[in-house]
C-alpha cells in the first residue's frame, strides 16, 4: 500500500469515526466512562507524584539536608510508643548550652520552641502565626536569608531583649504600605520591636512557611511557655560529609549530659531529613500503587466496554461494510477504519479525562506544589489511543473478514 493511499484511508477513517460517535452520542459517552476514569486517575497520579517530588525537593532545600533535629520524639514511630516518648525527660536550655560548648563538628545550633500566637500592629492583626523562640543562630539553621533589616544578635538573644524577626507573609499582612523595621508589634499581647524580615520561603505541604516570627528563646519561655515544656535543638553540621560523625558526637554528648546509663537506649531522638526523604518515597510508592491499580482497573473496564460497543457497531454496520467492500475497500481498509474508530472513541474519553483532571490537579495544588506535567498529558493521550486500538482489534478484525455478499444482504 502506498503511503498516500494510507493517509487517505486514515483521513476517511477519522471522518467516519466522528460521524459514528456523533450519531450515537449517549452510547459513546457511556462507553468512554471507563477510559475517562482511567485517564483521570493516570493524570492525577502523575500530578500527585510530580507534587510529591517537588515538595520533597523543596523541603530538602528549605529545611536543609545538613540539619539535625534533636527532639524527644522521633519523627516516625508506631502509635504504641507514644507514652514512652512522652515520658522522656525534656530537653532544656542547660543541655543546649552544654551541647553548644562541647560539640566540635557543628557550624550552628539553636534551641527551639514554637507556639501559634496572634500578632497585632495598630488595628491590624494576624492569627495563628507560628512564633519560634530561638537564638541568634536560628537563621543559619534554616537556609533562609534576610529580606529586610537583620536577625537579632547574640547580645539581644542572651539579654532577652524584646526584639522580633517576622516572616514575609506577616510583614505583608501587617505592614502593607510601610516598613516594619523599628515598629512595635504585640505578639501574644507582649510588645516586641521588629528588627528584620525573613526572605520568602514559600509553602510546604500546604503550610505557609512565611507566616512566622522569631523571638529570643528566653523571652519565649518566660512569656509563652505557660506550662513547663521542653525545647528542641536544631543543629547544622559543619560538613555534610561528616553527618554521621556529627550525629554520633551529639549522641555521645546528649547521653552524657542526660545521664543515660551505658547500655540503655537513647532517651532522645536525632531526626534528620533522610527520614523525610524515606517517607516521601514511601508515600510516592503508595500513591503510584493505588493510582496504577485504579488506572489499570478502569482502563480494563473501559477496554472491555469499547470492545463490546465496537462489536455492536460492527454488526450494526454490516451493510455499510458490505457497501465499502463492494466499491473497493480492502480488508486492511476496513480493519483500519474500525481501529481508528475505537481509538477515536477512546481518545475522546481520554481528552474528557484530561479536561476533568485539570481542575482536580488545581485542587491537589492546594496541598502539594504541583501542576499537571505535560508529559503526563502526552502519556494519557497515548494510553487512551493504545487502549482503543487494542480493544478495537477483535471487532475490527471481524469486520474486515466479512464476506461482501453476505454483508450486503444484511438488513
Amino acid at each position: 500500500m502506498k503511503l498516500t493511499d494510507f493517509t487517505y484511508e486514515v483521513k476517511e477513517g477519522i471522518g467516519i469515526s466522528f460521524q459514528a460517535i456523533r450519531a450515537n452520542k449517549m452510547r459513546s459517552v457511556l462507553t468512554m466512562l471507563g477510559i475517562v476514569i482511567g485517564i483521570v486517575s493516570v493524570t492525577l497520579m502523575g500530578t500527585a507524584i510530580e507534587g510529591l517530588s517537588r515538595a520533597f525537593n523543596e523541603s530538602v532545600s528549605k529545611l536543609g539536608a545538613d540539619v539535625l533535629y534533636v527532639q524527644k520524639f522521633p519523627w516516625f514511630f508506631g502509635g504504641d510508643d507514644w507514652w514512652k516518648f512522652r515520658n522522656r525527660k525534656d530537653i532544656d536550655l542547660k543541655q543546649y548550652r552544654d551541647v553548644k560548648d562541647q560539640a566540635t563538628t557543628i557550624s550552628a545550633i539553636t534551641p527551639l520552641s514554637r507556639r501559634r500566637l496572634t500578632i497585632k500592629y495598630g488595628n491590624r492583626s494576624s492569627d495563628g502565626i507560628i512564633v519560634s523562640g530561638a537564638n541568634e543562630q536560628y537563621i543559619l539553621t534554616t537556609g533562609a536569608s534576610m529580606d529586610l533589616g537583620r536577625f537579632f544578635s547574640q547580645a539581644e538573644a542572651n539579654g532577652g531583649r524584646p526584639v522580633a524577626v517576622i516572616g514575609y507573609t506577616v510583614a505583608e499582612n501587617l505592614f502593607p504600605s510601610e516598613t516594619p523595621l523599628g515598629k512595635n508589634v504585640k505578639i501574644g499581647g507582649v510588645s516586641f520591636r521588629i528588627v528584620g524580615v525573613i526572605g520568602k520561603q514559600g509553602s510546604f505541604l500546604g503550610m505557609d512557611l512565611d507566616n512566622c516570627a522569631v523571638i529570643p528563646i528566653t523571652n519565649f519561655l518566660q512569656k509563652f511557655a505557660s506550662h513547663r515544656r521542653g525545647i528542641d535543638l536544631n543543629v547544622k553540621v559543619a560538613d555534610m560529609k561528616d553527618l554521621e560523625n556529627t550525629k554520633e558526637e551529639l549522641r555521645g554528648i546528649l547521653r552524657k549530659i542526660r545521664s543515660v546509663k551505658p547500655g540503655a537506649e537513647d532517651d532522645f531522638a536525632i531526626n534528620q531529613q533522610e527520614m523525610f526523604i524515606q517517607t516521601f518515597n514511601k508515600i510516592g510508592i503508595v500513591v503510584a500503587g493505588i493510582g496504577l491499580f485504579i488506572t489499570a482497573l478502569s482502563l480494563f473496564v473501559g477496554a472491555i466496554g469499547i470492545m463490546n460497543i465496537m462489536f455492536v457497531s460492527v454488526s450494526e454496520r454490516t451493510k455499510e461494510i458490505g457497501i465499502r467492500k463492494a466499491i473497493g475497500a480492502k480488508r486492511s481498509t476496513i480493519l483500519l477504519q474500525f481501529l481508528i474508530e475505537s481509538a477515536a472513541l477512546s481518545l475522546v474519553g481520554g481528552i474528557i479525562g484530561i479536561i476533568i483532571s485539570y481542575p482536580l490537579s488545581l485542587l491537589i495544588n492546594q496541598i502539594l506544589p504541583t501542576s499537571m506535567p505535560i508529559l503526563v498529558v502526552l502519556i494519557a493521550i497515548i494510553i487512551s489511543v493504545l487502549v482503543g486500538m487494542i480493544s478495537g482489534f477483535l471487532p475490527a478484525n471481524r469486520a474486515s473478514k466479512m464476506d461482501p455478499v453476505e454483508a450486503l444482504r444484511y438488513e
Partner: protein, 240 residues
C-alpha cells in the same frame, strides 16, 4: 478481440448445513467490450449469484473466470478488492448508499479507496454527479433524495472510477415505472458513450433496452440471443 468477461463452466454451490444448493450449475458466457447485456430468469435461478461472481464480490466454487484476460478465480481478497474498485461499477436494487454521507461523499468514496488526491476526486465526483444530472443535489444525504435520485447517485458512484463494466442487479426493481424508464435512459446513454453494461431484470420491457438477452434457469444458461426490436428510448432525464 479479447472479451471483457470470459466465464467457462462456472459452478457455485452453497452448503446449508447438510444440504447443497447449486446456485450455478454450469455457466459459460463471454461478454465483449461495449456490449449491453440483460440477464433474465425466474426468481432463485442464480442471476444475482452470477452477477456477484462477475462483479468479483464472490468467487466461483469451480470453473474459470477471466476478466480482461486475467484469471480472477484464483485471486486473493486484496486483488479482488482492487478489481472491484477500478474495473467494476456495481449498481444495486436497494441503492446501497452510505446513509450518513452526502451524495458527493458517496460518489467520492471509490476514489478514496483508489488513493486519489482529494481535489482530484472531488472534481471527478462532481463530474459524475453532473453526468447523472444531480449537480444541485451534491450535499443531500440519501434520505433527502427520491428513489430515482438515489439510484442516480449510485450510478454516478459506479461511473466515477471509469470502470471496464457496469453491473446492475435489478436497478429499477425499487422504482416506479416512470422513474425506471429514466434510469434505463441513463444506462442507454452510458452505453452509447462506450460503456459495457450488464443488467439483471425481471421485466421484459426493461430487457428490451439491451442488445443481448441471456436467460438463466436453475443455475444454467437457458438461452442467449441478440435483441431484434431494441428500444432506444430517449426519455428526457428530468431533475425532480
Amino acid at each position: 478481440m479479447q472479451p471483457v468477461i470470459n466465464i467457462k463452466n462456472v459452478k457455485k454451490t452453497y452448503i446449508m448445513g447438510t444440504v447443497e444448493v447449486n446456485a450455478l450449475v454450469d455457466v459459460s458466457l463471454q461478454i465483449n467490450k461495449n456490449e449491453y447485456v440483460a440477464i433474465m430468469g425466474p426468481s432463485g435461478s442464480g442471476k444475482s449469484t452470477l452477477m456477484n461472481i462477475i462483479g468479483c464480490l464472490d468467487t466461483p466454487t469451480s470453473g474459470l473466470y477471466e476478466f480482461n484476460g486475467v484469471n480472477v478465480s484464483e485471486m486473493n481478497d486484496n486483488e479482488l478488492a482492487k478489481i472491484r474498485n477500478k474495473e467494476i461499477g456495481f449498481v444495486f436494487q436497494t441503492f446501497n448508499l452510505l446513509a450518513r454521507s452526502d451524495a458527493l461523499h458517496n460518489v467520492e468514496l471509490p476514489l478514496v479507496y483508489a488513493g486519489m488526491k482529494k481535489t482530484d476526486r472531488r472534481e471527478s465526483a462532481k463530474e459524475a454527479l453532473t453526468h447523472v444530472k444531480l449537480e444541485d443535489r451534491m450535499h443531500h444525504k440519501p434520505n433527502e433524495l427520491s428513489g430515482g435520485q438515489r439510484q442516480r447517485v449510485a450510478i454516478a458512484r459506479a461511473l466515477v472510477t471509469k470502470p471496464s463494466i457496469i453491473l446492475a442487479d435489478e436497478p429499477t426493481g425499487n422504482l416506479d415505472s416512470k422513474t425506471g424508464i429514466e434510469i434505463m435512459a441513463l444506462f442507454d446513454e452510458l452505453h452509447r458513450q462506450g460503456n459495457t453494461i450488464i443488467l439483471v431484470t425481471h421485466e421484459e420491457d426493461i430487457a428490451h433496452y439491451a442488445h443481448r438477452v441471456i436467460r438463466v434457469r436453475d443455475g444454467m444458461v437457458e438461452s442467449d440471443h441478440m435483441v431484434e426490436n431494441r428500444i432506444t428510448h430517449k426519455a428526457p432525464v428530468s431533475v425532480e
